[in-house]
């Protein structure tokens, strides 16, 4: 059997990217270490996936300092939220098709 994959977002093919997006849509913003702890991934791994999502303009970055420590907050953009919704819809359709 073959399913339509047209609505599947290439950016979400990777599980980690999808999980990053899940965290961001459920929260106003999240910091790097917070996401890292949730996903149990390495710094480098997370950074590369965040970069990919940033390239798609699915998330926005705001850098600041808390005391002397740099703090990077990530938030989902409108575009990212729409893409995430579309992806969920595609998953849902897939389940419906299979029934």
């Amino acid at each position: 059997m073959k399913y339509s994959l047209e609505h599947f977002d290439k950016a979400f093919e990777n599980r980690i990217r999808l999980q990053i997006m899940s965290v961001l849509v459920a929260n106003r913003s999240y910091d790097f270490n917070g996401i890292k702890d949730l996903l149990h991934v390495t710094d480098g791994n997370l950074a590369s996936h965040i970069k990919a999502l940033e390239k798609e303009e699915y998330l926005s970055i705001s850098k600041s300092f808390i005391g002397r420590k740099p703090n990077t907050q990530y938030a989902v953009t409108k575009k990212g939220k729409d893409a995430f919704k579309k992806h969920l819809q595609a998953l849902e359709n897939l389940i419906k098709q299979q029934k």
Partner: protein, 205 residues
């Protein structure tokens, strides 16, 4: 993509959304223990207030100034013990789930809780300064309830109902004066134990 994969994908999305926005390392046991401390404290306060001068009059709160500090120390002991127990058991639970207790959700939870909590602390401090002892139990219940409702958006939804129950009890204590201690014991003792048991059976089994 197979159906199994789709379901795995959806459940991983759901899990991430929940775990990133809800603090679930609260332990039911800490609720039960906090309730026991509160009941013990209320029992001790009751015997202290009952004995001096043989007065059984519960409405004449500590007019006697020698009772102020003992009662204050009891209240503080209950508060500190409850908070320490809650903290230690949460750390233990977070560790067993292989999670860091100091994360964005726990920070947001503390932030939401702290405004009503500190307002309540100052409010009660002012009541103490003015000698308005009869409204303290009501104020502590109302502000604690407000703090729980404010924090509930970052943890189990059950916390909200506990908070609303505490607020109702606090208002009730204001409405029928003279029963502050018993209503306080119900709110901080009985309700915490009930809440802890419900949480244990609902989420920890």
């Amino acid at each position: 993509m197979k159906e199994k994969d789709v379901h795995a994908e959806l459940s991983s999305i759901r899990e991430m959304m929940e775990r990133s926005s809800k603090f679930i390392s609260l332990s039911g046991l800490s609720g039960v223990l906090a309730g026991i401390y509160a009941l013990a404290g209320a029992g001790l306060a009751y015997t202290l207030m009952k004995n001096p001068g043989g007065s059984h009059d519960m409405e004449s709160y500590p007019h006697q100034h020698d009772l102020f500090w003992p009662l204050f120390m009891i209240a503080m002991a209950v508060l500190v013990l409850s908070m320490l127990t809650g903290l230690l058991l949460s750390i233990r639970k977070a560790k067993s789930r292989n999670e860091n207790i100091w994360n964005p959700v726990s920070r947001r939870l503390l932030g939401a809780v702290s405004i009503p909590m500190f307002t309540g602390a100052f409010f009660i401090g002012i009541l103490l300064l003015k000698g308005e002892y009869s409204t303290i139990s009501s104020a502590s219940l109302v502000f604690y309830g407000l703090a729980l409702v404010a924090g509930s958006q970052f943890t189990f939804i059950d916390v909200k109902w506990l908070g609303i129950a505490e607020i109702i009890l606090g208002l009730l204590a204001m409405l029928i004066p003279g029963h502050g201690l018993i209503i306080w014991a119900i709110g901080f003792g009985f309700l915490h134990i009930l809440y802890g048991i419900i949480m244990h059976f609902k989420y920890e089994r």
